[in-house]
């Protein structure tokens, strides 16, 4: 039973960054500007979380400042893809490369380290242990002992669900994605809504990154997101704009990542275990394409014209 306990607990932990990034990306899928640069945005979040943490010495301040920074970056990204009309797919791919290059560049020029930055002074994000629940087997591991960000991510699921049903903003995001001219002629501001979606996406990616660098560990490693952003992207594509399904998908990917860590090397080589989330996503993609009525979801790739 201890095995199951550890498996579920780490599954929840792995779910958090995926879920946060996916919730961010969801807004961009509503506006049909699917952000494929989650990986890069998360990497920046992880890095700047550590930087802010070392500068301010406070976990809370680091989180708030980094999210703010992320939202500003997201708004700039939104400006580039709306007003400057850069294709969002191109911008996202570039963001990934930029993220991996720039964090290494900054790591080396700010701290003079290559590879990994670990420091005792990096503040960690607080973990919440729920008194009674914690002692119940299995349930305790699932519900208790996680970082604030983990709980926040599930609160955000509920909030997003409510927002999708009841707010004008989400209505406008969906209209901006599905029929932008309808929103524009009704007096709405399509550009503003699209920029907002990107700002939200980057803010949540910053949280997702910090969960990695200050929640699960307290260090920053080059390329530490290692494909989680793409897994989150797959979750968004599978869920087709539905919040609960998205949470479920993220949980599924989190648990399959957890398998990769928990599984014994004698049963399966570690590389195969690490492959699991990607294989699951690929198989899921094929299944989605075969089962959905109107074909599979497409990422809005640019027209290669001059």
């Amino acid at each position: 039973m201890e095995w199951l306990d550890a498996f579920l607990a780490s599954g929840i932990r792995f779910t958090t960054p995926i879920l946060l990034a996916a919730l961010g990306c969801l807004a961009t899928s509503w506006t049909k500007d699917l952000n494929v640069g989650l990986e890069g945005a998360m990497l920046f979040g992880a890095f700047f979380g550590v930087v802010m943490g070392l500068t301010t010495g406070s976990g809370l301040a680091a989180v708030l400042l980094t999210v703010l920074l992320g939202m500003v970056a997201g708004a700039s990204f939104g400006y580039v893809i709306t007003v400057l009309r850069v294709n969002v797919f191109v911008a996202g791919i570039v963001l990934n490369v930029f993220g991996s290059g720039a964090t290494v560049y900054l790591l080396r020029s700010l701290f003079g380290v290559k590879g990994t930055l670990s420091d005792d002074r990096i503040p960690t994000i607080g973990k919440i242990t729920i008194p009674v629940v914690n002692d119940i087997p299995i349930v305790g591991g699932v519900l208790s002992g996680h970082t604030v960000l983990t709980y926040l991510s599930w609160v955000l699921v509920v909030l997003t669900l409510l927002a999708a049903r009841h707010t004008v903003l989400v209505r406008h995001m969906k209209a901006a994605g599905e029929h932008p001219a309808a929103l524009a002629t009704a007096g709405g501001n399509v550009t503003r809504v699209r920029i907002l979606a990107q700002a939200w996406c980057f803010g949540l990616c910053a949280l997702a990154g910090m969960q990695l660098s200050m929640g699960q560990l307290s260090m920053f490693t080059e390329g530490m997101t290692s494909g989680l952003g793409f897994v989150a992207l797959a979750a968004v594509i599978f869920s087709r704009g539905r919040v609960l399904l998205l949470a479920l998908m993220s949980l599924g990917f989190g648990l399959s990542s957890s398998v990769a860590v928990q599984i014994n090397e004698e049963i399966m080589p570690p590389q195969f275990a690490q492959m699991i989330p990607y294989v699951v996503a690929l198989v899921g993609l094929v299944v989605l394409a075969r089962t959905s009525r109107d074909g599979a979801a497409r990422i809005a790739t640019p027209a290669m014209e001059s």
């Binding site: 707010t167 209505r171 969906k174 029929h179 001219a181 929103l183 009704a186 007096g187 014209e305």
Partner: protein
């Protein structure tokens, strides 16, 4: 140019000296237009005459380079649609501005949602849309998904949207393009009622019969300029056509053809398909087209005509039935094989299917010739000199106005783009030609030219299937008409023995048994 003397003092709306350019293209130049309270004022002109640009200027979607707009005597500047909405201007667009997955209430209130603190109050929305809906006689549950409604109802939702926002000036851009004759008449009754209630209406169209049926005054635009404004009673269709085209000799009657109708070329027997995109599934459609004959397919859009064209050329698979071409069954063949056997196709969506919109003119012209290059020959050069010379010759022969064979298709006008398609398809010397909406978005001059080429093709013995939403086009060209309704052939008649009203009845699905084929 006759300037009407207004007796109601100053007009409700006045546009003066409006000029709008896009790079080297002048879309509007010194355009003048005014609107009286309670009036229906038609704005007519050919495609590209600048009607839509002018209305977009009025609706705040474009900023004019010069000129003034006055509403109620007050000079205004519209920077975005919400500015003009505030002055009581509403627009019903040709392509509906409705989000298909939203409910009726969500669509009507979009941009002005009732509720507080950014929350959408569904109850208040349902309440608020009730009055404008009943004014138009629309009886629908507010939570109906908009995409499931038919076009005529969607159009009423669009008008409701405008009324909900409190519009006094309603602009309708080509509102009848998607309607049956009966639905059009209904719309006109509605518009007259709105005008009698005090709304002022700008009615944009290029269909003269409709303009004369509904408008109080008519303003004609040509090449971005105002040509004339006159009271409907004081002018006639001939004058208006002359003003629109700048020529006196445009034929609006039946197209003359010398073609002998002979053997059956195309025979469809009981063909059915699955539902495809927005169109109805075909359900056991049978018909024949003979050599030298033009068979028209009429019907309200979405009743299976688009699928029919695609099923015949082979881009949509059949679930039942057979298709024969010149006595050979082609049911299971792919597009390339069907084309090689003599089938040609002018697709309905020119930009998507007809031409490579970002490719060159030559790339658009040569698809047929390059198709025959198979196996190792397809490693060879696609456009050697001989091919370029051939392309240039075609450009000349079909008088395609383009700077050269390597110009981008997207830089050409709609008429010239369509000439590329027609040139390509006719150069294959087909035994059967399928035309889907061949003159949509094409100016009258080019239409004349295209009709001439089609007539020539039938004189050579080509069988033509003409699918069109424009009943006039079908009546002017075809020998026989089939009416499609919900994926079936609802009626068949000789063009000489039917009327637009009768066809309209069948388009609405009215059961008339005596016209069985």
């Amino acid at each position: 140019m006759s300037e009407p003397l207004t007796n109601a003092g100053r007009p409700l709306l006045k546009l003066a000296g409006i000029t709008k350019t896009f790079g080297p293209i002048t879309a509007n130049e010194d355009v003048t237009f005014d609107l009286e309270p309670g009036e229906i004022h038609a704005l007519v002109g050919e495609n590209g005459a600048g009607k839509t640009t002018l209305m977009r200027v009025l609706y705040g979607m474009y900023q004019p380079d010069a000129g003034t707009i006055h509403v109620d005597g007050e000079q205004v500047e519209f920077r975005k649609p919400s500015d003009s909405i505030r002055y009581g201007i509403g627009m019903v667009h040709q392509h509906f501005m409705l989000v298909p997955t939203f409910t009726v209430a969500e669509n009507i209130t979009l941009g002005a949602e009732p509720g507080r603190a950014g929350l959408f109050d569904r109850k208040a929305a349902d309440e608020a849309i009730r009055k404008p809906m009943s004014r138009l006689g629309v009886d629908l549950a507010p939570n109906t998904i908009t995409g499931t409604l038919n076009v005529a109802t969607q159009q009423k939702i669009e008008i409701t949207k405008v009324l909900y926002r409190g519009a006094r000036i309603i602009i309708l851009d080509e509102p009848t393009a998607v309607l049956t004759p009966q639905e059009t008449d209904e719309l006109f009754v509605l518009l007259r009622k709105l005008a009698d209630d005090g709304s002022s209406i700008i009615f944009i169209s290029h269909k003269l019969r409709e303009v004369f049926a509904v408008a109080d005054r008519i303003t004609v635009l040509r090449d971005g300029r105002t040509v004339s404004t006159s009271a409907t009673a004081a002018t006639d269709p001939k004058q208006v056509v002359a003003a629109m085209t700048g020529r006196g000799d445009v034929n609006l009657g039946r197209v003359h053809r010398d073609a002998a109708v002979a053997d059956v070329v195309l025979r469809a027997e009981g063909i059915s398909t699955a539902k495809h995109r927005h169109d109805a599934a075909l359900d056991g459609v049978s018909f024949t087209v003979r050599s030298g004959e033009i068979v028209g397919i009429a019907g309200v859009e979405g009743n299976g005509q688009s699928v029919l064209a695609e099923a015949l050329i082979g881009t949509v698979p059949l679930t039942a039935g057979t298709v024969n071409l010149g006595g050979r069954e082609i049911t299971g063949l792919g597009v390339a094989d069907r084309r090689t056997l003599g089938l040609s196709y002018v697709p309905e969506d020119r930009h998507l299917e007809g031409i490579p919109i970002n490719g060159s003119v030559l790339e658009g012209l040569s698809a047929g010739r390059l198709r025959s290059r198979r196996s190792w020959r397809s490693w060879g050069r696609a456009f050697p000199k001989a091919m370029r010379a051939w392309g240039s010759e075609l450009i000349e022969r079909y008088s395609i106005k383009t700077p050269g064979y390597d110009a981008r298709c997207s830089t050409l006008s709609g008429g010239n783009q369509q000439k590329i398609v027609i040139a390509r398809e006719l150069e294959e010397n087909p035994s059967c030609l399928i035309l889907a909406q061949p003159t949509r978005g094409v100016d009258l001059g080019a239409i004349d030219f295209l009709y001439g080429r089609i007539a020539e093709a039938t004189a050579r013995g080509c069988a033509v299937l003409l699918i069109s939403a424009d009943l006039d086009e079908i009546l002017r060209l075809s020998d026989r008409v089939l009416v499609m309704y919900r994926g079936r052939v609802a009626a068949e008649a000789r063009t000489s023995e039917t009327s637009r009203e009768q066809l309209g009845m069948h388009m609405m699905g009215a059961k008339v048994t005596e016209t069985a084929a």
